[in-house]
């Protein structure tokens, strides 16, 4: 579904990504883990075309994603959320999700001014779908609340709803459980399982091991921009190099 082929990215002398390759299969939940500064979000930014890789490429199904603009990536079916929530703070939850529908609708200036039947139908469909998505992620009752006034956990859900509004085939989530307490993490895991069951492929960055172990079909571990392990979570957990990266080497 999504392949990252030999991607490298430098920032001056700093090697953020060093020949990283991975393949996410359709319908799975793929975890990207590693210490802070390992290059996980950088990889996300390369995948979603916010950065251009210095070498290598990213492919979604048959489409090359690298070299495109961020909005084209969304058009092809890859949507993301951000590590530090980037909602449209002064818009309501409903409006935020409606913005997500932008890429799948096409009313222009004339439609806006004339409000012909097609445009009105599209607006109604957009509003309905947005409310549906809010209900799906569990914050339907907060539809008219301002994004910046929402509880943290709800904001994270809203970001997911907004990304879902773009009708993605792959959803890239950057630390969706960051800052959540165990019960919130539990509900998030339920939501993500539901998404998987509904056919959405998920690529996620996470630090919360319970979520990673409990939910991911496969994981990849990054450290200093390099892949150090890949495979089923239970296997990766026992890998010596992974333990060393997270916990440090055993003092002699």
């Amino acid at each position: 579904m999504l392949t990252v082929e030999n991607v490298s990215k430098h920032f001056g002398g700093l090697v953020a990504l060093d020949h990283v390759s991975l393949a996410v299969h359709a319908g799975e939940i793929f975890g990207l883990i590693g210490p802070n500064g390992a290059g996980k979000t950088t990889l996300f930014n390369v995948i979603t075309a916010l950065y251009e890789p210095d070498s290598g490429g990213v492919r979604l199904r048959t489409q090359m994603l690298s070299g495109r603009k961020p909005h084209e990536v969304v058009q092809h079916g890859l949507a993301r959320t951000f590590q530090n929530i980037r909602l449209f703070a002064n818009m309501t939850a409903l409006e935020n999700v409606m913005v997500g529908r932008h890429v799948r609708t096409n009313a222009g200036v004339f439609g806006a001014i004339l409000r012909d039947r097609a445009t009105r139908a599209e607006e109604q469909a957009t509003t309905r779908r947005a409310q549906e998505l809010l209900d799906y992620v569990g914050i339907g009752r907060h539809a008219h609340q301002l994004a910046r006034n929402m509880a943290y956990g709800d904001q994270r859900r809203l970001e997911i709803a907004r990304a879902l509004a773009t009708d993605p085939v792959v959803l890239a989530l950057d630390e969706p459980a960051a800052g959540m307490n165990p019960s919130e993490t539990e509900s998030l895991m339920t939501l993500l399982s539901r998404l998987r069951a509904d056919g959405v492929t998920i690529l996620l960055i996470e630090h919360d091991m319970r979520l990673v172990m409990g939910l991911c079909d496969r994981v990849l571990v990054l450290d200093y921009g390099k892949k150090i392990a890949e495979g089923a979570p239970a296997v990766v957990r026992g890998d010596a190099r992974v333990i060393e990266a997270y916990l440090g080497s055993v003092p002699t």
Partner: protein, 377 residues
């Protein structure tokens, strides 16, 4: 406000018949305005109202660029100039052309929109201050261009400007002359008032429609967080250019009307100061809120004119004029601007969003939420 009054107001807001009555009253006021103003204050005041309407159109156009899309444009008056000069060149002795207004205005709108795209395109990667300076530069470039386009071929007649511009004529009805309709005398300023009012209402209507639409949401999204907007599939380049184009087109229409109305234009009418005045109108009035922008345009056009009477006020108060009203005007005007910025920094009638953006809690919150980690290309 006591709770019972508030409830009654809420009730009234949603009462259909009350709304209809309010609309009716407003319509009557607008229709009778020139006669009342002309009768009470004199015909020169109707001319001031006409200019206020032109500025309302300008302010609403800039409102799309700055208020909706959040693109700080300091060279906006260039589009007004484009519209005005197009009208002047197509309806004056300059080239001997005398095209009708219904042909020139749409052309002016489109030409101005084209310039909007032209001026907007190089600014797309710029933010905030840099965007402001570059647009300021473009505004000045257009003005200097128009001042110098008189050699080797005389197109714009340079610093002398273009005069003897045809007044606007609708269906043989020239708005430049006093007309008589159903026994009522309509001096030229009155007939221009109705034309400008009609077009202003059209532009208000378009602004309202744009606000609550897919494009309007895209503009707000870009203003709120451009990176997130792009990450949600919005083609930020096209949407920003659309904002420039739409805003410019309003200025193009207003400029054409200005040329026909005044009969004479020169580059002096399109200075940086004018761009800034239009910006003041929307900042003071309430950026993003159509009613606020209209109010801002009205106040900033009318207030300095009203201040001309400071000579009379001083006569009445002190028996003689202490300070030349012309000097006092700008001082008082400046003072008024400063006071509004101190006590109502979000504008007199801010949009609900803008008022939130300015609340004290919000600035603390936004600083908390701003993070070092920002993804940029």
């Amino acid at each position: 406000m006591p709770a019972s009054w508030r409830r009654r107001w809420q009730h009234l807001r949603h009462d259909r018949r009350a709304a209809l009555l309010a609309w009716l009253v407003m319509a009557v006021v607008l229709v009778l305005l020139p006669f009342v103003t002309g009768g009470l204050l004199g015909r020169s005041w109707v001319r001031i109202v006409d200019f206020a309407l032109l500025y309302i159109m300008l302010a609403l156009g800039l409102n799309i660029v700055v208020g909706y899309a959040g693109l700080l444009d300091l060279g906006y008056i260039a589009f007004y100039a484009v519209g005005a000069y197009l009208y002047a060149l197509l309806a004056s002795p300059q080239f001997g052309l005398h095209w009708p207004v219904w042909a020139i205005l749409p052309l002016g709108a489109m030409l101005a929109a084209g310039f909007g795209v032209l001026l907007g395109a190089p600014t797309l990667k710029l933010r905030g201050d840099y965007l402001a300076i570059v647009t300021l530069g473009f505004g000045e470039i257009i003005r200097i261009f128009l001042t110098n386009l008189n050699a080797p071929i005389n197109i714009t007649n340079g610093p002398q400007g273009v005069s003897l511009i045809d007044p606007i004529a609708i269906g043989g009805f020239s708005l430049g002359e006093t007309q008589s309709l159903l026994g009522i005398t309509l001096p030229s300023t009155y007939t221009y008032y109705y034309l400008f009012l009609a077009l202003s209402l059209a532009i208000v209507f378009i602004s309202i429609r744009l606000q609550d639409s897919r494009i309007g949401r895209a503009w707000v999204a870009i203003r709120e967080d451009e990176v997130a907007a792009a990450a949600m599939g919005i083609n930020t380049r096209n949407v920003k250019l659309l904002a420039f184009a739409m805003g410019a087109s309003f200025a193009g229409v207003s400029g054409g009307l200005f040329a026909g109305f005044q009969g004479f234009i020169s580059p002096e009418s399109f200075t940086l100061f004018e761009s800034i005045i239009v910006l003041c109108m929307i900042v003071l009035g309430g950026m993003g809120n159509i009613a606020g922008v209209v109010l801002g345009a009205l106040l900033i056009t009318i207030f300095p004119e009203a201040l001309r009477y400071l000579g009379d006020v001083q006569q009445w108060l002190f028996g003689h004029v202490l300070v030349d009203p012309n000097d006092l005007r700008l001082l008082v005007f400046g003072l008024a601007l400063v006071l509004v910025m101190i006590f109502r920094p979000a504008g007199l009638l801010p949009s609900v969003r803008r008022r939130r953006e300015f609340s004290a809690d919000e600035s603390v919150l936004s600083q908390e939420q701003a993070s070092l980690y920002d993804t940029r290309r």
